[in-house]
């Protein structure tokens, strides 16, 4: 099972509503993935700054953490168990090193535009805890998880990120992830979990690090990754979709002049503006689909 929702806006006037649109898409997918949920939102960048999304246990004293980080030009934003700090590029390495010494705090995601939130629980409740419906941005992807391959933990919740502004959500299961993980580790990649989907994210990060475009990296994963998968991938500027060659997992896409959206089921798309006149289709197996901001 599991459910995926993704939306990429073409009409800038919809950007303030991005989070509300994604929240509306995730709720019907709760049936497919009641264990945990997560989402990545690509919002406004601040010049020469990077956003770190940090997670700590419930009730953690973020004030203490923020004092340790020191003052920032953009005020930190606390969302339940997560906090987003926007820090100057030149201080990133020092602050990341400092956070690494804090045993209760982990870095969920980092990038110029991407913020990322994930928790165990029913997806509609997870979305509410983080106030997803108030977030704005250009594109966002989310996931509702029914755990099969590894435990129900926050670390096992999607999306997975292994590089700045890059994230991946996955419906399916990979069969050769241990072999691919070892190969990627030899190439210097670090993984936080034993999860198969994190390996897929790592593979794309590695490919793009080698100079491939998102589309080329996705194309390469068709040969490298074995198993069942529908991936939706976010980057700083784009949004991609890929299904395995036998199209084991369901997928529906819809497009209007204002947006492109992905849903594991059509139910996820029914409240999008103008859906009744949208082009609705099933993405073909082993075909790379992607959209980029201009």
């Amino acid at each position: 099972m599991c459910g995926i929702a993704g939306i990429f806006l073409k009409d800038h006037s919809l950007e303030p509503k991005l989070g509300a649109l994604l929240a509306g898409m995730l709720t019907p997918l709760s049936d497919r993935g009641p264990d945990s949920a997560g989402f990545a939102v690509y919002g406004e960048p601040a010049a020469n700054h990077v956003k770190l999304t940090l997670r700590a246990p419930q009730g953690y004293d973020f004030e203490r953490l923020l004092r340790a980080v020191g003052p920032t030009a953009v005020p930190p934003e606390v969302y339940d168990t997560h906090v987003v700090i926007t820090i100057p590029d030149e201080r990133q390495a020092a602050i990341v090193a400092q956070i690494d010494t804090m045993p209760d705090v982990s870095i969920v995601g980092q990038g110029t535009r991407m913020t990322m939130f994930k928790e165990v629980g029913r997806p509609e409740q997870v979305a509410k805890r983080f106030g997803l419906d108030r977030m704005s941005g250009t594109h966002a992807i989310g996931h509702t998880r029914m755990a099969t391959e590894s435990a129900v933990t926050t670390n096992g919740a999607h999306p997975f990120t292994t590089g700045p502004d890059q994230c991946l959500v996955h419906n399916g299961s990979l069969s050769n992830h241990n072999a691919v993980r070892r190969e990627l580790q030899r190439n210097g990649l670090k993984f936080q979990t034993d999860n198969d989907s994190e390996v897929a994210a790592g593979f794309l990060t590695w490919k793009m690090g080698e100079g491939a475009s998102l589309a080329q990296a996705m194309e390469a994963s068709l040969g490298a990754l074995d198993g069942f998968y529908t991936f939706v991938i976010g980057t700083e500027s784009g949004f991609g979709v890929l299904r395995d060659p036998i199209a084991c997992k369901p997928a529906v896409m819809a497009e209007t002049e204002r947006w492109v959206a992905f849903g594991t089921e059509y139910r996820a798309l029914v409240d999008l503006p103008g859906i009744d006149s949208a082009r609705v289709w099933e993405p073909e197996p082993a075909k790379v689909y992607f959209w980029e901001r201009h």
Binding site: P250, V252, E265, Y266, R267, L269, V270, D276, V280, P285
Partner: protein, 229 residues
């Protein structure tokens, strides 16, 4: 004419009402509004009624259908008309995977494309797809007819038994034990009948179709293969 709006009626209430209909019911035309991708809409009907669904449906729409004529004015998710016994299901948009799976009878017409595994394990159903079908269509198809006006994907008719396959466009590849066979006069007559039933009259040249079926080497026991068991 009962009109059911699924934004204020539950799916269970709709299907419950349809299941209660007797064969002599005078409520023969039903309209269903706002299906919003719900699963199992109008599944399990056993009455000679007409159900018109206005919008896209989710999985298993009109599954197990008997006698009813079900129209979907939109796309259908996986397994539309799966295990249909009789009647007629008409999808005016596209259908997702496994359309008409295991169907024993009746007619399924899809105006758009059907994706992978269309007619998988069909057992007597007739399926007419006006667009194209995806990979592994008619996998292990036992009986009935699959007519495709467009193209077929990879591994058409893999491990096929005795279903008849007619494809007008290109076939990306044939599955194990599926071969092209001559299109004889009685096949043309069969095809003509199916196209007429699907509302395709005159606009399509029967001669453009090619016929595929079983080579009958896989599902018949052959003494030379005894060592393989």
């Amino acid at each position: 004419m009962p009109t059911i709006d699924l934004t204020n009626t539950t799916l269970r209430e709709l299907n419950g009402a349809l299941h209660k209909l007797s064969h002599e019911s005078n409520e023969t035309l039903w309209r269903v509004l706002n299906p919003r991708g719900l699963h199992s809409v109008a599944a399990g009907i056993d009455a000679p009624i007409q159900v018109e669904i206005e919008g896209h449906v989710g999985y298993y729409c009109a599954g197990m259908n008997q006698r009813a004529y079900v129209v979907v004015r939109g796309n259908a998710g996986q397994g539309v008309a799966e295990n249909m016994m009789s009647g007629h299901v008409h999808v005016q948009g596209d259908a997702s995977q496994a359309a008409g799976a295991s169907g024993c009878g009746g007619l399924l017409v899809i105006d758009g494309n059907a994706s992978a595994r269309c007619g998988i394990s069909m057992k007597g159903i007739d399926i007419v797809v006006k667009g194209s079908v995806g990979h592994l269509s008619a996998f292990m198809a036992q009986a009935g007819n699959l007519v495709v006006l467009g193209d077929a994907g990879e591994a058409l008719g893999d491990s096929i038994y005795e279903a008849h396959l007619y494809v007008r466009g290109s076939v990306k590849g044939l599955g194990a034990d599926c071969i092209e066979k001559p299109l004889k006069e009685h096949h043309k007559a069969e095809l003509q009948k199916l196209l007429s039933a699907a509302g395709v009259n005159g606009s399509v040249d029967i001669g453009e179709f090619r016929r595929y079926g079983s080579a009958r080497k896989l599902y018949h026991f052959h003494i030379d293969n005894v060592g393989s068991y």
